[in-house]
Symmetry: C2
Subunit: 414 residues, 2 copies
């Protein structure tokens, strides 16, 4: 559904480097497995090519993220961010092209020399000069990109499909001689001619690239290599597109911390983790250092001078706050009633708000018990009515509500 | 994909109140139609039940939004928000249950009396007492809700499916006698027993409700009434789920301004508009007052004391900012190369940033022309290198870049 880059939700794809999804028998405390039961009416042939239990992350905060309007990363900041992404457990770290500027070149060399567990990639235009600069820096892999739609061919680089393919094969041959991982990517794939683009991908796959970045429901069998997805978030669908892509056989997902990138960015690492920890709890909790997410997001937010969005999945200030009485009652009895994610997996806690007119007496009862006060259910219902009355008049903080409860309790003793 | 409320992406649904999607022959200035061409390999039987060109919005900022942690709406604010939502063109405005508090009751009556074009709904528990209070307030429609999963039946209300159905049918019969629109909804539908829930929906449909709020790929033919979707955004998939729901036959989508609601909220009105203006440009641009979106979002952000998220679709501060050289070049030649949405539809403008090391000489050339200076392409490439050098050292603002350009130009005259 992302119009300018890859990431359609539709159909199946190639790349049968896939294992079967693990069975959904995992357990997370009070949280039951959400995977598909064996007899699910939703099960389909796509489950057999799905990589939701078996994906890799290409973390692009230091490439796509540098294209964010507010981003200026000095060397020290880049190193801090690279180490934090590595510590989180991402498989790859993608860097700005070393051709962009002299400092970009130096920083690429520096980060390649840090000895991180993550493989270092850089993202360059598909030409020999850029590819050589990339290799000079010591990267583990080179991500080649060129626009293939008639729009980009006309308005960006002006090259024909024949010339694109000829250049691509030359660059790929050179890169193979250096031993780096090679990814080939077309931009604006969904507006490219389907036959043209399938022919191009077939050719680069045959030439031996490790990965392509393209997804469509009409290319099964066209490529045998891995498939990477890069989804922009202009219409708020980047996470869902990444998930659907994995279901359809994609193997690698591009993310950036908080989604920073061109315009309003790409698939955010945190929101993607929120989605995937539900879909593939075993894989995600074992592989990624989820408790490090908040600090990683704060590091990047600080570096680009933005606030964490109020509605950010997981780390938004109220992502685990429950307010309506009907919700609070059920949450207090069993958190999985209204929580799809256990906050403790991310080192966070839930909060049940009772400071509003839409609260209920079960939530107030829990607070009364926390305060160590004794009241009957009837008394709690009465003090709940008092809280609602006050909350009708003005916003309440937790100490306001506590005062109402304490003063009501005191009156009972008289 | 939303675990706790409705909104699966899967499959087809009932409710063939649907017309065929309009053909994708619309044109928006430089923006070509993005709809499916007639010969699209993506076309399927689902296109025939799709409502992407024919949906209605139930705007729930004054109900779901009041469940947002920061929300306290006094009467005056509620009226302002209701009028702004009405002015935007939403079909329905949903209000907090009048049973929640005395002021909620009064406010519901007040808003019903404003004479808005939008129909006023309120969302109440499925029992006779709540239904009667709703009717007293003068609403056009009543949204009934009850939890049906074993989780909610055990931990929330403790009722059996038989008792749920018996109560529902009594309440529906009463509401029919008053002439209001009736919606019946189960909560946590995806964790409910499929047979139980289909039987319940069949029964309420037969009893004559206008709308149900439930979606699954195994209920075609079960109900003949309209279908509403309420998608929470815990894993960042609410917009995509709403879109997929429409494709599968849903007719009504719940939104709130900026997505405010319980936890991190529901489908945001603005992001949903971003998605739908691409899918159904004719329908959306004719029906909704898109230029009023920014003011509506600012009104609500101010009322609940939050910042508009930096990455908000459409109104985020950089949603139409282009920075990398390769993007800027194409955008300057033809905006639709990297913009899925025309900002002018929302009364906004694009911005091409040249103040970074990843800028390119085509973007700088455009700025040189804006400044009224004359330079050859070679000279522009040289000044671009100077800008990149400086941007390697520190963050640049637009006046810094302009100074570099002007001073280089001055040197040329010497």
């Amino acid at each position: 559904m992302c119009g300018t880059c890859n990431g359609d939700t539709a159909g199946s794809a190639a790349a049968p480097t896939t294992t079967r999804p693990e069975s959904a028998s995992t357990s997370n405390g009070a949280y039951p497995a959400r995977g598909k039961p064996k007899s699910s009416p939703y099960q389909s042939v796509q489950d057999y090519i799905s990589n939701v239990n078996n994906f890799k992350i290409i973390e692009s905060t230091l490439r796509e993220g540098e294209q964010f309007a507010n981003a200026f990363f000095d060397t020290e900041t880049k190193i801090k961010i690279a180490r934090a992404i590595d510590n989180f457990g991402c498989d790859y770290i993608e860097l700005t092209s070393p051709v962009s500027s002299p400092q970009s070149y130096e920083d690429c060399k520096t980060i390649c020399g840090l000895g991180l567990k993550a493989k270092i990639l850089t993202h360059v235009r598909c030409n020999m000069e850029d590819a050589k600069k990339a290799v000079e820096c010591g990267v583990s892999g080179v991500d080649l990109v060129i626009g293939t739609s008639s729009f980009l061919r006309e308005y960006s680089h002006g090259k024909s499909m024949e010339l694109i393919q000829k250049t691509a094969l030359e660059v790929i041959e050179y890169l193979q001689s250096t031993g780096v991982e090679i990814r080939f990517s077309s931009e604006d794939s969904f507006r490219s001619d389907l036959v043209d683009i399938l022919a191009l991908y077939k050719a680069v796959d045959k030439a031996g690239v490790h990965r392509v970045s393209y997804m469509a429901n009409s290319n099964p069998g066209v490529v045998g290599c891995d498939i990477e997805l890069h989804c922009h978030d202009d219409t708020g669908c980047a996470v869902a597109n990444a998930h659907s892509g994995l279901e359809a056989g994609a193997t690698h997902i591009d993310t950036s911390v908080l989604g920073i990138g061109e315009r309003n960015g790409i698939t955010p690492l945190g929101a993607f983790m929120a989605r995937m920890v539900v879909t593939a709890p075993d894989y995600v909790t074992k592989k990624y250092n989820l408790k490090a997410l908040k600090a990683l997001e704060e590091l990047v937010a600080d570096a680009v001078q933005i606030n964490i969005p109020f509605n950010n999945p997981i780390t938004g200030f109220c992502a685990f706050t429950h307010k309506a009485g009907i919700h609070a009652k059920a949450i207090l009895a069993n958190p999985s009633t209204y929580e799809i994610i256990d906050p403790s997996l991310f080192g966070l806690t839930r909060y049940v708000s009772i400071n509003s007119r839409i609260t209920g007496w079960n939530a107030v009862k829990s607070r009364v018990e926390q305060l160590g006060l004794k009241m009957t259910d009837e008394q709690i219902k009465e003090v709940t009515a008092k809280i609602k009355q006050m909350a009708d008049i003005r916003p309440l903080a937790i100490d306001d509500t506590d005062s109402i409860i304490r003063s009501y309790h005191l009156d009972l003793q008289q």
